[in-house]
Amino acid sequence: MTAVVEAPPSPEPPSTRTRAQQRSSAWKRRAPLLPALLFTIAVTQVPFLVTVFYSFQSWNMVRPGSQHFVGFDNYVDVFTDSVFLGALGNTVTITVVCVLVAMLLGLGLALLLDRQFLGRGIVRTLLITPFLILPAAGALLWKTTMFDPTYGLLNWAFGIEVEWLSDYPLAAVMTQIVWQWTPFMMLLILAGLQAQSREVLEAAQVDGAGRWRTFVSITLPQLSRYLQLAVLLGAIYIVNSFDAIYLMTQGGPGTASTNLPYYIYQRAFEGFDVGQSSAMGVVVVALTLIVATFALRLMFRAFDVSRGVK
């Protein structure tokens, strides 16, 4: 960081007066940024630091005065807790499967929408609606009107009798999440498709490239930035999925559909175990940071953030 702050070496050492001027102009430039920066630090970083502090304490909220320092005990407990490891596995499954499926469906829908046809505006409006429905409402509706074993539409439509939420809890939750996020992916990819230059596409056709060839060689490379953005933003939100699990399965049956946010919630607000749930939170952050470091690097390359820096 300091390397960036240092001014480039100038051939002649500037006089103290201009240096002071430079400094004041640098602060003038920073001034509009500072409120946002300080606010973000206060609201997101400070609570996290407190979480780190709590993670070294043994503290149960229902027993006042039980708070004391225990070193790494909570972390040892976390890594030997099979429920935690299961929840970690479920989180990875939910995130990877939902992001990929939603992106593929979104790509398909965007391709269908990327042409002129009767009622295009209406179809697009219909397709974005699941993204605008309250996720809590969507989860409850899927749980009842779609997945209910007796009165649900799915069993009626397919003429089967499946206990979706107890036999396939993870798949049911993921269905709802995919349904919710597909429109988001579709909108992003559609923006990418519409940013394509028509001339290039026509030139490819004139050169005798078929539809598939044009799609693979011209459209996909052009879309890659949008796809990366879709994956990154989707993953950021889906990794935190809580509504669907809380409202549809309560993490069950047993812990079959428990993910990390739901498990931490349970330990904190049902078990009142501040120390252990904090340690889990810290572990989650560490894991996310490892993944995110790669994702961020990818994104910075994709969007060339240095653009506009003079």
Partner: protein, 274 residues
């Protein structure tokens, strides 16, 4: 010949697109239909398609005290979005048109806070709110939602600010315009649609937020998702009522989203690619 098959293929594709769209949105259509049913028609096997519509469920929802939740949601959403713009617009300016030297560090910092899972901070937030007497208080949600949306907002608005041609700003400066004039007359007209798109995204994410709302609020400051949690125990019994509540809870953001969908597309793609 090829023109004819193309046209035929085209209309087949159009029909397919319509079918896919209707199937995809069917849970929403079914929600709307069910919300106008009497409870006896709501959960049946096979499903009931012909029924006498009623507004009974909507009046029941209002009687169950839905309006205060709606008011809380509106208040929290509007104020947190305004707070995001108040903090985010200057920050985006400082990271684009008059860039500070550590621009990519600052941007990286904002983005990295988005990577921080919200569960990792919920316990201190709960304890701090409790100590400050801010549990079940709308202002706690306003501050937290602003913190949640600010990083994405700064990032999006920066992309829109970068689209302002620097020549325009310099030309205005040469003509002797002071900074406020430049901001108001030159920059604002170009970035206004981008700011609107950003605000829209913030509105959607604030209105639909669940985790903070459920954990930090209850009867006083509860937002519409908290009202819906009341239906978790009455599963299978009050589907028509649930559908009516789900419809009322989603309707404001649905209407805003439908009207502004072009902004939404632009906002999501963040003007990142030209």
């Amino acid at each position: 010949m090829t023109v004819k098959t193309n046209r035929l293929g085209g209309s087949a594709l159009t029909v397919l697109t319509w079918i896919v769209a209707l199937l995809f949105v069917f849970p929403v259509i079914w929600m709307v239909v069910t919300s106008f049913k009497h409870e006896v028609d709501a959960a049946t096997d096979p499903p009931t398609f012909a029924f006498t519509p009623t507004l009974e469920q909507f009046t029941t929802i209002l009687d169950r005290g839905f309006l205060p939740y709606l008011a809380n949601s509106a208040f929290v959403t509007v104020l947190s979005t305004l707070l995001v713009l108040l903090l985010g617009v200057p920050a985006a300016y400082a990271l684009s048109l008059a860039p500070v030297k550590q621009t990519s560090n600052a941007l990286g910092f904002f983005l990295s806070t988005k990577m921080l899972p919200i569960v990792a901070a919920i316990i201190p937030l709960y304890v701090i709110s409790q100590n400050l007497g801010m549990l079940d208080n709308v202002w706690a949600l306003i501050v937290l939602y602003a913190g949640m949306n600010l990083p994405l907002a700064v990032w999006m608005m920066r992309s829109f600010f970068l689209e302002v041609p620097t020549e325009m700003i310099e030309a205005a400066r040469v003509d002797g315009a002071k900074l406020p004039t430049v901001l108001y007359r030159v920059i604002l007209p170009v970035v206004a649609p981008g700011i609107a798109a950003t605000a829209l995204i913030c509105v959607i994410f604030s209105w639909t937020e669940f985790f903070y709302a459920v954990n930090l609020t209850a009867a006083q400051a509860g937002t519409v998702p908290v009202f819906l949690v009341g239906f978790i125990t009455s599963e299978g019994l009050f589907w028509a009522q649930l559908s009516a509540a789900a419809l009322l809870a989603s309707l404001p953001v649905m209407i805003v989203g439908w009207i502004a969908q072009n902004h939404l597309v632009r906002g999501l793609s963040m003007g990142a690619v030209k």
